[in-house]
């Protein structure tokens, strides 16, 4: 009986295993192999170059910027998206009815195309757009949003925040809904003031959901591509050059598939280490406050 169950288990798991082998493990091994070659994507022949791609990558401004830009995005994007999604979740939770309708509304940007959103923002920030004209003529502010290092990064981070807020709000709303109302009532009896409710009750009990959204939002910064590609191309002066942008540029603009694979491997290592460290910090934070 147990043997049959095992077989059935393997059968049900096989689509995922096959999918992972073909679309994850296979490409990963292939990418690792390519990272030691100078293959140019289309040439029938190539040579093994050892660790040359990795040493070259470490010395280029493109890769160095990709490394740091990711953390700069984190600093801007994570607090904004967390605050916005928490705000949305709290507001939606307090609604007397039609909660799911509002949540769907906030969730829609997550389903929308990053290309379309970027193009709309591009038009919105165009020199001759009504917004820019208003800022220039009425307030004397002539801002080149996509031409300044910080402003370009900020614009991309804001688009990302707009896109992800609804998704994270959904997770946080579920967390809020799972908090038993009796906890608040008991706390009130124990003398917890209304102004302390959020910090003393909601935040600790919401910690698992916040932990999830924080990990997801930190992780999202390692995969930024569409918005950067459409709006800034990684500029100005590498200010928005993400890992994905650098990999794309080297593989498909400069035809250096081997070198791009080396960068992809480096990006993966940076991502795993960063997420691991962030997880540990968040867990320590939770433990120190007695939330887990």
């Amino acid at each position: 009986m147990e043997k049959n169950n095992n077989r059935l288990g393997w059968l049900f798991a096989s689509p995922y295993l096959i999918f992972s082998t073909v679309f994850f493990l296979g490409p990963l091994i292939w990418s690792l192999y390519l990272s030691f070659t100078n293959w140019d994507l289309i040439s029938p022949t190539y040579d093994f170059v050892g660790f040359k791609n990795f040493t070259k990558a470490l010395g280029t401004p493109g890769v160095r910027s990709a490394f740091w830009v990711t953390y700069k995005f984190m600093i801007v994007f994570v607090p904004i998206v967390t605050a916005m999604s928490l705000f949305v979740a709290v507001i939606v939770k307090g609604l007397p009815k039609l909660k799911s309708v509002f949540l769907i509304g906030f969730f829609l940007p997550y389903l929308s195309s990053g290309v379309v959103a970027s193009l709309i923002v591009k038009g919105f920030l165009s020199h001759t757009s009504p917004v820019q004209t208003f800022l220039r003529e009425r307030l004397g502010l002539d801002i080149d949003w996509l031409g300044g290092s910080f402003s370009a990064l900020f614009v991309v981070a804001m688009i990302m925040a707009w896109k992800f807020t609804g998704y994270y709000a959904l997770i946080l709303t579920s967390g809020l809904e799972s908090i038993d109302q009796e906890v608040y009532e008991a706390a009130a009896i124990d003398g917890v003031k209304d102004s302390q409710r959020f910090w003393k009750i909601t935040l600790p009990l919401l910690y698992p959901a916040i932990y999830t959204t924080l990990i997801l939002s930190f992780g999202a910064t390692f995969g930024i591509f569409t918005e950067v590609y459409q709006l800034t191309g990684g500029g100005p002066n590498y200010a928005t050059n993400t890992w994905q942008m650098e990999i794309y540029s080297q593989a498909f603009k400069n035809l250096q598939a081997g070198y791009a694979s080396a960068i992809a491997i480096m990006a993966a290592v940076a991502t795993f280490i960063s997420i691991f460290v962030i997880r540990k910090i968040l867990e320590m934070w939770g433990k120190r406050n007695g939330w887990v």
Partner: protein, 437 residues
Amino acid sequence: MKKKLAVLMSLTLVFTILAGCGSKSSNSGTSADGVTTIEFWAAPNPTQQAYWQKIAKEYETVNPKVKINVSAIKESPTSEASIQAAIAGGSAPTMTENISRGFAAQLANSKALVPLDTIAGFSDIVTKRNMTKTIEPWEFADGHQYVLPIYSNAMLFGWRTDILKEAGVNEVPRTYSEVIEATKKLKAKYPDKYLWAKPDLADPTSWKRWFDFFMLYNAASDGNKFIEGSQFVGDEKAGVDVLTFVDNLRKEKGLLSQNVTEPFENGVGVFTDVGPWTFSTWAEKYPELQYKENFEVSLPPVPDGMDPANAKTFADAKGIVIYASASPEQQAAAIEFIKWVYSDDQNDVAFFQETNLPPARDDVGTNEVFKPVFEKTPVLQEYAKAIPNAVPSMDNPKFNELQTFIGQEAFNKIVRGEIDPKTGWDNMKKAIEGELQ
């Protein structure tokens, strides 16, 4: 039984997935009834696509043993990337047009192209089409010809003479000091207008340098090659002059690199690079823009002391290539098709009429057959006249990285006022030489 079922299901899944992944065809392109099918990717420009579809249909009636499927190269993300992806995926077409010299060098370096001069009948095309001189600079370092140039645009700068006149500038500026003077007058009259308004000025994408830096640099250096083989041979004085000119325009608030929709057409800027393909768009979208009435075109401005009348400029020239992955039958059929197209001058006339792109021929300015085209669109005469002044792009396979450095290290930074011209030039030179090693 259950075990067999499980194995069968697993294998079905594997083969279904793998079948979806594999699309490589070993088809020779010739069917049992002897009809050879050619896949021809035309430039992603409606007029060029229409031209090739029409001409392919005509050829099929003359030669029923060949079927030509004409489709536009996908532009997402770029036509070059689409071609590269197709080659990498084993689904390259037989032939494509829209190939620049630099991109051809990349492809040739990867053994993706057929050296056209090794195919019988290629020299006949060159002779019959009267393009012996035009094709000379297209020879690659290995002595082969990989591209048959179709058109050659000597890129010119357009001037909004209507706005300039309102600002008190009655002649098109031809030297750097004249341009700066015109900028001062323009800003005095219209503080919200710019001499050169173009978001690309601050964009490091490599090909964008053809239409700003190289146009000015070719004029300032009298056509210096910039990179020859794997050597950087840039003319420092000319390069620094160009960057200083751009820097001076910035200081006069004459540059706008923010995103703005069609700034020249909408009058936000009064100066910009203009290719001959633009005029058919303007005829439809901006009919008020009329040559000699409110705009003119000219060769690039030159540093003071140089003769602006014969300034060199950038040649936006592109052509047809045949891919090495095509079967011998397809390659032979492709060259026969090209031979047939260029055996009749009227096909070049039709191309010129349809696309406004001057055919890459030695006699485009003198051959009477092109007269009706110039009569219909007089501004094209300026492009034909400038063909001898046009310098093609570099043929280095690393052109993409090299030209990106021009923007990243020098041009874009100058536009944003982040660096001085000499330092910009030095940084760019260092980066380029590092890449060439």
